[in-house]
Subunit: 256 residues, 2 copies
């Protein structure tokens, strides 16, 4: 029997999603320890994708295989009784026929947050990066437009990526400005067919750089050449949140 | 020479504002350690008021007395080079003639945040409390109206308060509903002449209780009788943030 979990975590104190050698605290390792207690057998937990150390998730999707008399939707409470405060299961259900949380994923949405302020802000810095200059919203939206669509995102990925192809489709890249604790926060929300290693953090860095005065020409040049060095620095992990993963079907019953 | 500081902190890992016996990490103790380095002499730092363990501040105001050749507005960078990530100085200036951050304060504004969700949310729980039921916004606003104005708030304070009088004026109590990470967040913003010990957390608790179905009658009865037990439980510290302190004058130069 396969179960699907909607999972949220504050990535600050995790060494990323993926299980590591003993002693490293990871999301997968922590979920597997809880699952192995609940199912009373060693249990593997798969995720829709790996998030890096320090990256947060509001709606990561995971699956696991096991046998239990506990109703699927009650597994949430069983997990949450065992999980730490910075990692919780928001919903649980029986997986649809043939479901695989990694290969069935159709779209993922990430949110990148950053603020500009003359001093670091303790109440924003856990979930947002600090910008060195105040970006222009219109310019940021121009850059966001340029990365939308199907492109070879090779230049927008860290070396060592194992993906077969670096062609991906960005369905939407929205740039928003909002007020948080009296300060201006910038949010970049990117929805795509999939993302290469560090792709959202490099995309966000380039969009902020254009917002702060860099020409947009390097984006087109980077698509053509695959040259990482044309683009801005990778933004810090703390500003990134995996918002949701879409499978083309509702996995969880709506809450009343 | 007196200096004034605008201070923000994430209260999670502080045992409150007020200096304690050795070994307890406090906001005041941490600021005084930095100030004593900068001024090269033991330096006391006063705050507009004490915040409890776990309570956050977006705009606490502090003052200190000392002599230095460093320009007042540059003290911010000196402090921030010495302070930890969860406590920063947002602005520094020379204090106006006769200024005292405690006794010159005219109004304080606090924000209380809470969310309702079927499971605890790791990305909200650092700065918001979790509600056991979904409150009604209109009913919450009715309760907020009733606490606005000049009242004897004795019933809305924890025992052991040393204040001479428990009469305070609440200038405004606004209730807002907003969306955070796809979940509904409730914010109660209260501005008053001053607040008794635990007053905002008890006020927030009663407003949420009315939102969840409790009659508003107990609020009037509590004003008349001073009886704490008529009111809801004190809400957790993590949901409370000191937003700003008003002195009837601009203390800090606007940022360009």
């Amino acid at each position: 029997m396969r179960y699907v979990l909607l999972v949220s975590y504050d990535g600050t104190h995790f060494c990323g999603f993926q299980r590591q050698k003993k002693g490293e605290r990871t999301v997968q390792g922590t979920l597997e320890a809880a699952a192995s207690e609940i199912f009373r057998a060693p249990t593997r937990v798969a995720g829709s994708g790996r998030t890096d150390a320090g990256v947060h998730a509001a709606g990561q999707v995971c699956h696991l295989d096991g046998e239990t008399a506990i109703p699927a939707e009650k597994l949430r409470e069983c997990f949450n009784a065992l999980l730490p405060p910075d990692l919780k299961v928001l919903a649980s259900a029986a997986a649809p026929q043939g479901f695989d949380c990694t290969s069935s994923a159709r779209r993922k949405t990430y949110l990148y947050r950053a603020y500009f302020a003359p001093a670091p802000l303790p109440l924003l810095s856990r979930y947002a990066a600090r910008l060195a200059a105040k970006p222009d919203l219109i310019r940021m939206r121009e850059a966001a437009c340029l990365v939308t669509g199907e492109h070879d995102f090779l230049a927008f990925s860290a070396r060592g990526s194992s993906a077969k192809t670096s062609v991906r489709t960005v369905y939407a890249a929205d740039v928003r400005e909002l007020t948080a604790n009296g300060h201006t926060m910038y949010e970049i929300e990117v929805t795509g067919s999939g993302f290469l290693y560090n792709m959202v953090r490099i995309l966000a860095g380039e969009i902020f750089a254009v917002g702060c005065g860099k020409t947009t020409e390097n984006i087109q040049k980077a698509f053509a050449s695959g040259e990482r060095s044309l683009l801005a620095k990778t933004m810090p992990a703390c500003g990134l949140t995996l918002s949701r993963v879409d499978y083309g079907t509702e996995l969880f019953a709506p809450e009343e």
